[in-house]
Amino acid sequence: MREDEQAGEPSPVPVPALRLRGVSKSYGPVAACDAVDLDVYRGEIHGLLGENGAGKSTLMKILLGLVRRDAGTVLRDDEPVDIGSPRQAAALGIGMVHQHFSLIDPLTVWENVVLGDTGRIDRSAARDQVLEISRRYGLPVDPLARVAGLSAGERQRVELIKCLRGDPSVLILDEPTSVLTRAESAELFGVLRRAVRSESRAVILISHKLDEITAATDRVTVLRGGKVVFRSATARTGPRELARWMVGREVSLGAEAAVGLLPGTYGSAAGEAGPGRAAMAETGPEAGGSATGEAGPAKATMTEIRTEEIGTDEAARGVQDPPPPVLRLRGLTLTVDGVPVLSGLDLDVAPGEIVGLYGVEGNGQSSLGDLLSGLFAPDSGTVEISGRPVDLKRPGALHAAGLGIVPEDRHGSGLVPDMSVAANLVMKSLDAVSGRVFLDRKRTHALARRLVAEFGIVTPSTDTPVRDLSGGNRQRVVLARELSARPAVLVVAQPSRGLDVGAIEDMHRRLRDVASEGMAVLLISTELEEVMTLASRIAVISSGRITGVLSGGEVTAERLGTLVGGATA
């Protein structure tokens, strides 16, 4: 194969597979992309870094023919091309794996993969093809399995197989790890590395996670406000510099941690990736030159740093006898569709502490969030708030008992996107803004304006539908509403998911504030860094039960790893 000659030689071939010159796209007065130049070569993973709204998605939509550019040229192997539709993009060998899965749940894997084909469907050929691709790239998946029963990581694999089946020479991945576990992410980058090296494909990796950009890419381009503000070979830059370019200012430690600025996280991915990668990891400034193919040493260093932080920060609290818990979960057991998702979960959260519930995605934390949102009643077990058991079958009982929740799926269960900001802010406390029958518009808007100001919600007016707000502001609406009811305990699920650095930082600051005012906070997160920076105790969830609770001083990588793996410490 022609590609084989290039496989050993990481230096890019002179003609870029894809070259963008001065590509611009405006929506009214807003320039989503402003004269963007980008070169993507065969055999490289090109990182595209930027906050939400930086123009990454628009740029990719232009490449996929979903959006027409206003100006600029796109060259494919030095040939100017016009991409008018996704079909044309596919014909030009540009394929994309979207951030949100576009799979159809009730269909099987192979059916999803061939979806969109025309002509006769050859079932066994399609299955063989899926198996062949899955073997070639190391993407184990059963072609006969129904997508509905697959984990996030497996779905990602299906998406990838679907895309690779079209044999694209330029492969675009939009935030591919947002729902993946650490191990799954590492595996994904391994696959990409193989596709790039041995088959001379080009990969564009869109992300706002600094650690995965530094660990997995060869070159990186940073977009801010629609413009390219920085480009470099990944080896010659580091997460701190990239963060600066991405945000345009220094970020606080908490936010850094949440976007994965702490080093070593993807050390294992780098180790697997091949000879070129190890060298790169060593040049990362934060790795302290100690990173080798093994992730172990780097992880240990990282944990020491954190342990110190937590030790100094939370020592005072740890010394006193813990006050009685505000939130007491006892023996929560829940089965959904015949699958046990929670099995005898016990957890306490005391006033003034942030308890981090950490675990790999899919171990029951989502269901716990739904349960605490009042969407499910458990098969058995109790939820006690301030010493009183709550009847979970009664709608609104949790809220009445003093539990506030910022759910994981904010558009789904936390907000009514088509209703106004004001309506969303008061929807759980109608008593405060209405008589027995009629709503009081004046009081509604007065309350809404007060909360908008207090929580720094950026919105044109309190009448604006929530769907027009950015992700960070939507989350602030939920948080403002929940905190305005003065709950005794606040549950926050995956607070940094889908948000940019600024919004994450703001959220973290507010969580620390409410905890220091004496509220009990339960933080459900799959981001280890987030849990480590915020929580005073870490409860690890595995297979629907708590495998162990560690307070500041006890946290080590080994212990966490054991607990996450399901063994009780």
């Binding site: 009982a397 269960s413 309506a423």
Partner: protein, 394 residues
Amino acid sequence: MREIPSGSGQGPSGRLLALLTAGPGASGWKTGLVTVAGVAVALALSSLLIAVTGGSPLDSVRALFQGSVADSTAWTSTLLYAAPLLLVAVGACVSARSGVFNIGQEGQVLVGALFAAWVGLRLAVTGPALLVVVLTVAALAGGAWAGLSSLMYRLRGVNIVVSTLLMTFVAQQLVAFAVNTPWLLQETRIGDAVVAPQSNPLPPGALLGSIGEYPDLQVNGGLLIAVTGAAIIATAITRTRWGFRLTMLGLNPVAARHAGVRADALGGAALAVSGAFAGLAGAVLLTSPVGVHRLQPGMAMNIGWDGLLVALVARNRPGPAVAVALLFGALRSGGGFLAATGVPSVVVDVVKALLVLAFVAPPAVIAVLRRRGSGVRTARDGHGAVPVAERTAL
């Protein structure tokens, strides 16, 4: 894997209706423009059709106009049709807003009329009190009939769109049975006269009179009831806690449940309310001079279906539904006049349907246009949350 508890029985059909009934768009003038164009196209097609079938398009338009709004007689007829249409539409607004799609109004109208006739003919109450009883019983009967669908959903998970639709056919059979059964409601046999499948005429005390005295023009009490109903529901939806919860349930059942709304109870109540309005419309059909004051199998005259269309065109807002109901009333009475001029009634139906399409289609057309031009917010938002049709809040 995650099961999202749905508050109300709806499927793809419900979603389709939701798309069609999506709230008012940001650009009212655009909708107006497309509507005008649509009406022009409908008129052109109608003219063509009438010309092809041997009529005179110009005369037909004149007839349509004369029969609906040209003089006070025409207005009388228009208003008589508008009242039951509006009642059905207001009810449809309530259920659709809660996300429960009731499309069985035609049957609920019949059941309302059936019980109204029974009470009006059998109850020994005299004077205006009888009218009050008749109207109340009709509303209760319509509500209970719709409530059966809600019950089926809660007990066995029967889709509400399907069950309300099918219950219409049951209602039709019930009425046919009642007016063909001597011991039920069939008219009294006088001598050897042939008895028709219909009830006796209602006593004068059970009839809706006109309000005020105008030369030629009659404004029936039914219209007053309908407009009052529209005003009450409009206020209830926008200004009360009940309406707030209803809107929340319709727009996002999961969030509503999370916020403490009893989805089943509220959705069931909304369905019953919409059935009650349809039942009331049945009583108005029976007791106002639009018919012959007798229960007849064909007396619903598709008012249930058309009322649903009124709500569709008004996009589930009771206020605009008043105007739309007038328009549909005018189309009905003008259409009747047109048929009287010799244009085949089939063609009249097609003309009416084309005009209805002209008024229903614009929001959908705009939505399609907007979707094609979208990407603005999607691109900047980065999450791929696609705003398709906007809806109003509060």
